[in-house]
């Protein structure tokens, strides 16, 4: 073998990718030829360094940003589903998993539960349609049962101020399972609905509150909340809920939403539709 042939096969030789007889030939040449030996040594330095250079790591912000993006995508999908279900959107924005006949809030809950990354939310599981992802659902169900046993009302009230959004979702969702929550719990839920900085926590709070929407004070507070919400998905879910309950006090805030220039077109359409039902 001459130098040119050896150099052409050098990388595969260094990678150990050659058959033993070919490798032996090259080794013999390298042992005898100082120029090729130098090339082999220097290339080996580079190959090893590139293979082992694993220092560079992204900052934690990358994962946080990814999670935020995924959440907002899921929220948009959930809203598209709701609008489609109400016959408002002409076409689905994207192909999404068909969610059979689950309650509207259940669909939102299903979105939240996925966002929360395995955090158990009882409501979503009961009303979640069969998405074929039964192993995941079963796992969540176990977590919920565990959670139900462990969590007391006072835990819920302390958890509701937790730093982690998934913990807060857990807390507000737990309230949904209470047969008869006291005023303190209801107030805490409204506080989350109206002031939590994470839209998924607000949605989860809204879903829990919707279970108690037949109580007059709860209904009135929901109507007030409609006046301050600006997040499209919350507006749509609230409008749908109050329209379903035939809550005539909601007519005024719904009209406000319709004339507000900042309101999203899809929300206006949902508001018009809700108004007709009232």
């Amino acid at each position: 073998m001459n130098c040119k042939e050896v150099q052409a096969a050098m990388i595969e030789y260094l990678d150990g990718a050659l058959h033993p007889p070919a490798a032996a030939q090259i080794k013999a040449h390298i042992d005898a030829c100082s120029e090729c030996r130098r090339e082999a040594e220097e290339l080996q330095v580079l190959l090893t360094a590139m293979k082992n250079n694993n220092q560079e790591m992204p900052s934690p912000a990358l994962r946080e940003n990814f999670n935020t993006m995924l959440q907002s995508e899921l929220n948009m999908e959930a809203m598209a589903n709701i609008l489609q279900d109400r016959g408002i959107a002409e076409k689905p924005r994207a192909r999404v998993v068909p969610l059979s006949k689950a309650a509207i809030a259940g669909r939102v809950a299903a979105a939240i539960i996925l966002v929360a990354g395995g955090v158990a939310i009882g409501m979503a599981i009961r009303s979640a349609p069969d998405t074929g992802n039964t192993a995941e659902i079963a796992k969540l169900r176990t977590e919920v049962n565990k959670m139900e046993k462990e969590m007391k009302e006072k835990d819920m009230l302390s958890l509701i101020d937790d730093e982690s959004a998934s913990q807060r979702i857990k807390a507000v969702s737990y309230a949904e399972q209470m047969a008869n929550p006291d005023q303190q719990v209801i107030d805490a839920l409204f506080n989350s609905l109206n002031h939590d900085k994470n839209v998924n926590v607000r949605l989860a709070a809204l879903y829990s509150l919707s279970r108690f929407a037949d109580r007059r004070p709860v209904r009135d507070s929901l109507v007030s909340s409609l006046g301050i919400q600006t997040e499209p998905i919350i507006q749509v879910v609230l409008i749908n809920l109050l329209a379903e309950k035939r809550e005539t006090k909601a007519i005024a805030p719904i009209k406000e939403i319709i004339i507000n220039k900042k309101t999203l077109k899809e929300v206006k359409d949902a508001a018009q539709k809700g108004l007709k039902e009232l």
Binding site: I11, A49, Q55, L62, N65, L74, L114, A135
Partner: protein, 180 residues
């Protein structure tokens, strides 16, 4: 429970189980971040590009067809496009990402935190290669992809890839050992 393959998970994502993408993010984000980093030598930009890439995965999930190759080659093809768009957007010289006038000190500044002198120097030298050569080295060496895989990502023959790797390494060697 056995781990699902990348392809099965991506199919779930395509069917609308968006949250499953978290699993693929876990598996790939560090490698893809490094892919961008070795190409740009810019940490903030590399995080943005990685984020941008996963956003495209969501947007274009309907275009994923497992019959057309592995998830890995699909996402790397997209990563190349993301990087290409970045170059255009930054209006950097097409063949060369870092400013040719940038001194070694300036490049070293962007690599603070590199404790190994050897890696630092390698990164500086890599930044001086034309982008095509840099990319082939990042894919085949830093990322450890097989020639067959790179062949599918770049849509050229394995033989052509081998030649490109050889030339790029030769060039890298010349620059790296030039002043030592």
């Amino acid at each position: 429970m056995p781990e699902l393959s990348d392809e099965k998970i991506m199919l779930l994502v395509k069917e609308g189980h968006l949250s499953e993408l978290t699993v693929l993010f876990d598996r790939y984000h560090v490698a893809l971040y490094r892919f961008f980093f070795h190409l740009t030598v810019d940490r903030a930009a590399s995080e943005d590009l990685t984020q941008n890439l996963f956003y495209r995965v969501i947007r274009y999930r309907q275009s994923y067809e497992p019959s057309q190759g592995s998830f890995r080659s699909w996402i790397y093809r997209m990563a190349r496009n993301v990087h290409f768009d970045f170059c255009k957007q930054e209006q950097k010289t097409p063949g060369r990402l870092t400013d040719p006038a940038e001194t070694e000190d300036q490049i070293a500044d962007r690599l603070t935190g590199y404790t190994e002198e050897q890696y630092l120097r390698l990164e500086e030298v890599l930044a001086r290669l034309p982008v095509e050569q840099r990319e082939i080295l990042v894919l085949s060496r830093y990322q450890g992809l097989k020639y067959e895989e790179i062949s599918r990502i770049k849509d050229i023959s394995v033989a052509a890839i081998k030649v490109q790797v050889y030339r790029a390494l030769k060039q890298l060697r010349t620059l790296y050992f030039k002043q030592q």
